[in-house]
């Protein structure tokens, strides 16, 4: 009971201070607006080893040869084999694969017909970089295909982003980038600032507990984070017509878990840094790899294994998958449970470390 009152007192105090800090308030609204406009255009790069699934209804020597050839191109890497094209689209929506290859029963006959594509490539177009790369596979030479064939070997099916607009890909992930930037930074300076201004020396001689102090400090920023999510979603809708294929509640739930993970990461930084300046440096140290490795800029599958391992530790990686999955592919939270779990684990580990690092002492 008293603990709750203390948490509320800290949260109220923090919110009042925030409301009076014009620069911070400016950042709350300014950063999302600036970023969404800046990242309106995508950056395209080479991609390799995209996870792919295959549904081979023909099952002939030639169809198997074609799958081997696709694998040999190194653009895609087959990780799943399924029975039906429906299962391919399911896996696509869950984010298990980014490319699906469907070989129809009459594959051989279609091969001989220069006017028709012989098979289908199903592509997760929510990332245009992937779409570009995969579309080059269409013209791959195939056994028994006439070199003069008019139709390409594959018919390309672009899922989730049929108009190939980069904004559609950028905006959902941008929510995560903006939250990483603001949430981590705000809380990274939160405790250091109290230390620098001398408030902490008083605060730690009061009965306030470490966990109470941390949670009280987080609450106002959770609200701010959700406001930012709303700004990006609204602007994305108005300016870039980003669709909302999944459940809006799922988006906010995913954002909430991600906000929690980012805020506690900031708190952890705050207990490590000795000055506000150091806290900002450390934030940048987290922010750059987050942007580069999370799959926001470059497709995750195309990165070297080491980079992928690092990316798995960063909360943004998981949120990018969640946001694209829910907003663009219409997946529900249940289908993306591993990502939610990863963020929850991150939150618990980070806040535990922060509480352990923070001592109610000066030495």
């Amino acid at each position: 009971m008293k603990a709750l009152r203390r948490i509320r007192a800290i949260a109220t105090k923090e919110a009042r201070q925030l409301a009076r800090d014009r620069l911070t308030i400016g950042m709350v609204v300014g950063i999302p607006l600036l970023q969404i406009l800046l990242f309106g255009y995508a950056i395209n790069l080479d991609v390799r080893n995209l996870r792919a699934g295959v549904a081979d209804h023909a099952g002939t020597a030639w169809s198997r040869q074609m799958v081997t050839d696709l694998q040999a191109s190194q653009v895609i890497r087959f990780t799943t084999q399924v029975a039906t094209p429906v299962e391919l689209t399911d896996a696509l929506r869950r984010g298990e694969i980014t490319v699906g290859v469907y070989v129809p029963e009459d594959f051989e006959r279609r091969l001989a017909d220069p006017g028709r594509p012989a098979a289908q490539l199903l592509v997760d177009g929510s990332d245009p970089t992937i779409l570009n790369v995969v579309s080059q596979l269409r013209e791959m030479p195939a056994p028994a295909r006439l070199p003069a064939a008019e139709a390409p070997l594959f018919e390309l099916r672009n899922y989730y982003n049929p108009e190939r607009r980069s904004a559609v890909q950028i905006v959902p992930a941008l929510i995560g980038v903006i939250l990483t930037m603001t949430m981590v930074l705000f809380t990274a300076v939160a405790i250091v600032r109290e230390r620098e201004r001398g408030n902490l020396e008083f605060l730690i001689t009061t009965p306030v507990g470490t966990l109470e102090l941390m949670i009280g400090k987080l609450i106002p920023y959770i609200v701010i984070g959700l406001v930012q999510v709303s700004i990006v979603l609204l602007v994305g809708r108005w300016l870039f017509s980003v669709p909302m294929r999944g459940d809006l509640g799922d988006v906010y739930l995913a954002a909430l878990v991600f906000i929690g993970a980012s805020l506690t990461l900031g708190l952890l930084i705050s207990t490590l840094a000795r000055s506000q300046f150091q806290a900002m440096q450390l934030t940048l140290f987290i922010f750059l790899p987050s942007i580069l490795l999370s799959g926001f800029m470059f497709p995750f599958d195309g990165m070297p294994v080491v980079a992928q391992k690092i990316a798995e530790v960063l909360p943004l990686t998981h949120f990018v998958r969640l946001a694209r999955g829910i907003i663009l592919r219409g997946a529900d939270l249940g289908e993306l449970l591993p990502e939610v779990r990863a963020l929850a684990v991150f939150f618990i580990v980070a806040i535990t470390l922060a509480v352990l690092r923070f001592r109610k002492r000066l030495d």
């Binding site: 800090d21 408030n199 020396e201």
Partner: protein, 312 residues
């Protein structure tokens, strides 16, 4: 139990520096106990150890009957600590700061309003209720800090150089407030480097390089000073200063305007004659007479240097 703070061999080291060195303290309840010493003499470090902010490197401390390192949280509810630097929130108003402190200490709701109103009246903050702390004067901020530190009615109040950013008038009023608190049964430990404030304490410890150089009731310390004090009035005080410093029996010379206070070893018989002789030899005319010791003299006698030079 009549002691609020009991310390034996209290020591704190920072690397090779010993900030507080083997301190023994017995601070009686319901009185003002002063720490007098220059910057770096270990005052703040001692305060921080007493409220559990720093862990002692050695020694034993009991505050209000509890072991500080073990029962830190218990003690924290019963003490008030006013830091040397203003540590409330600059960007919050008087009312917001007091409300925050009241909530943190978990004051009962029905007590809260009354206590905050009483504190505002007591510390003359009534007209400043909506004023942000950042825009207030040193004296106003200090009153707010004291109001906040006493809101939960602590039994022991630790005030670390509370008047360093405050004008003389505010300092007088501040001390009036302190005596009111003592009257109500509060024990106050205050550190200062002002002699006039030190004189107002019930008891006093003179700290130098982390050690207690002298301890006792201020009046008694002045009466029982371990030196003879001679006052020299002279129209060329600088020349007299240099002349007397070279004299064997003189322990220290302190200039106060055109007067000099000279401390002489207590064993010397008739030191005035020696001083007069020395001044005459240098062709300086001066009035030389024995005088009562001030607290400054006590400090100089105990630390063998004036307060102003004692800072490292």
């Amino acid at each position: 139990m009549s002691t609020a703070i009991m310390a034996r061999g209290l020591t704190r080291r920072f690397g090779i520096l010993t900030a507080v060195d083997q301190l023994d303290l017995d601070i009686p309840k319901a009185s003002i106990y002063g720490f007098l010493g220059p910057n770096g003499s270990g005052k703040s470090t001692t305060f921080r150890m007493l409220c559990g902010l720093l862990k002692p490197s050695a020694g034993e401390v009991r505050v209000l009957g509890h072991d500080v390192t073990r029962d830190t949280e218990v003690i924290r509810r019963r003490i008030g600590y006013m830091t040397q630097r203003f540590s409330l929130y600059d960007d919050l108003s008087v009312d917001e700061n007091l409300d925050f402190v009241a909530e943190i200490y978990g004051l009962r709701r029905r007590d809260k309003r009354g206590r905050i109103a009483a504190a505002r009246a007591e510390y003359r903050l009534e007209d400043l209720r909506r004023q942000r702390a950042a825009t207030m004067s040193g004296g106003q901020r200090q009153r707010l800090a004291l109001a906040a530190a006493t809101l939960h009615r602590p039994e022991l109040l630790l005030l670390d150089e509370p008047t360093s950013a405050v004008d003389p008038q505010s300092r007088r009023e501040f001390w009036e407030n302190l005596f009111d608190l003592v009257d109500a049964g509060t024990t106050i430990l205050v550190s200062t480097h002002y002699m006039d404030e030190a004189e107002r304490c019930h008891r006093l410890a003179i700290l130098d390089h982390g050690k207690i150089a002298a301890e006792g009731v201020p009046k008694k310390l002045m009466r029982e000073i371990d030196a003879a004090v001679i006052e020299v009035s002279c129209d060329r005080p600088r020349a007299a200063h240099h002349a007397l410093e070279a004299l064997e029996i003189v322990r220290s010379v302190t200039q106060l305007g055109s007067r000099l206070h000279i401390l002489v070893d207590p064993g010397v018989s008739d030191p005035e004659t020696g001083v007069r002789q020395r001044l005459a030899d240098q062709g300086l005319s001066a009035a030389v007479e024995r005088t009562a010791a001030s607290l400054e003299d006590v400090f100089v006698a105990a630390t063998r240097k004036p307060l102003a030079q004692a800072a490292p």
